[in-house]
Subunit: 242 residues, 2 copies
DNA sequence: TACGATTATATGTCTAGACATATAAGTCAA
DNA sequence: TTGACTTATATGTCTAGACATATAATCGTA
């Protein structure tokens, strides 16, 4: 909701330019790598001075949405600059970054009309189709995490035809769907028999639970629950603040 | 290290102005709430046009380091705008925000020359004095978290005379010491007998463990371990991303 | 073909003005 | 004392220029 509506009030010109460009990036109309119009082109389009256009583009650059290169132009950045906590969104990247071999195993995949429970979990009211996915990640052939995910197909129709038997859904989504907001809920449980079996740990051993919800604008994209062995896994988040 | 050294190269004027102000804020010379010089004063001091000063201040505002108010001036922001994960840094604020009554109990406080273990925990080589603090937080008289903290007195000398019997050290630090970086490590354990006793939970119940290290520039400020009952507590982190 | 020098161009920074606008502070009346 | 009105002022936005600088593209040469 934060940058939702500058509704009704008259935004200044440079803010309008910035919002116009931001919108095209977030909707995917201008994908990562796309060259956005030169300053002089925007000057012509909006009928203003170059400083006004420059201010809009500078703010987008400061927000890491675009990258500016002298003589070449300004380009939409790849969404790889998330906060540290979100980097763990891509478990494969996390494991390979540690120099360990990544293993992935699809346990189950079901395409179905959303049940009441599905709608509650995704936080949506309208019915629609969803994909439910269960899978397991491993590092050096040791179970690393089990994943239980729901994807809202009305937000991400292309997920219906994606091949999740080879690519983990988290990686697929990260590379195909731009997100704008995510919420993590972290808690701890002790392993029940099924969890213990899946993670190859003892019943009663501590587990870290991460529930993540991801939105694009106001639309829910996916809800996922990740279970990690709590004593062997550490979740590291590093911040810069003021 | 990120914005550490623009060493040797010649930074542009607006960057120098921005860096000058940033430095005074981070060193605490200009504390939260302090009014920084008006644009026209900075124009006089640096001998440049107002637009140059304005660019420096606008970027500081976009980075949430200062707040600008028409007619009033520009003010150093309180460090309350951290990422969601860091908001839980202040347990008191977290509890009162939920409308529950906050309780605090100092269990122990020791001022000592740093032992080898202390130095390892803080990640410093040089010896010096430290304060070790143990305390417990509660919500509506139910144990909420136990805290085990080490403060490096060479970084925060004023902590030696702070009264931690009434104010929790986390709140005190948050309000007295500006930080620039923090690292969280989150894991899960099962409660041993001492932990179970302190949190009033069963032995073997799941606990969430948060280890946090905080730095100002390259100096370690504090290291803290927080233990939460894992089934009743949830750590929520919300982000906006690209 | 490969490499080095030249050129064109988009961004980076800066100026000396201008008018708009929100609001702190002061003024005056009820 | 309180509330309404006025005023002064700091920031917000914008312009039409300028020169600096990094670099993609081109051209020329070995």
């Amino acid at each position: 909701m934060s940058l939702a509506t500058d509704s009704a009030d008259k935004p200044t010109l440079y803010k309008r330019i910035r919002a116009d460009i931001e919108k095209r990036i977030l909707t995917g109309e201008w994908p990562p790598g796309h060259r956005i119009p030169f300053e002089h082109e925007l000057v012509a389009r909006y009928g203003c001075s170059r400083m006004t256009v420059n201010k809009a583009l500078s703010e987008l650059a400061q927000a890491d949405l675009i990258e500016r290169r002298r003589r070449a132009g300004s380009f939409v950045r790849r969404p790889q600059h998330q906060s540290a906590v979100l980097k763990i969104a891509d478990i494969r990247a996390e494991i390979t970054a540690l120099g360990r071999s990544y293993g992935y195993e699809l346990i189950g995949r079901k395409l179905r009309a959303a049940t009441a429970a599905d709608r509650a979990r995704l936080g949506v009211k309208k019915a629609g189709k969803v994909i439910a996915i269960a899978c397991r990640h491993s590092a050096d052939n040791v179970p690393f995490a089990v994943e239980d995910r729901l994807i809202d197909l009305s937000s991400v129709p292309s997920a219906a035809t994606a091949d999740f038997s080879r690519e983990p859904p988290g990686s697929w989504l990260l590379h195909h769907v731009p997100w704008t907001e995510a919420e993590h809920t972290i808690s701890a449980i002790v392993a029940d028999d099924r969890t213990a079996e899946a993670l190859d740990i003892a019943i009663g051993a501590p587990c870290l639970v991460i529930d993540r919800y991801t939105w694009r604008s106001a639309r829910t994209i996916t809800a996922v629950r990740l279970l990690y062995p709590g004593d062997s896994h550490r979740l590291v988040a590093r911040f810069k603040g003021g």
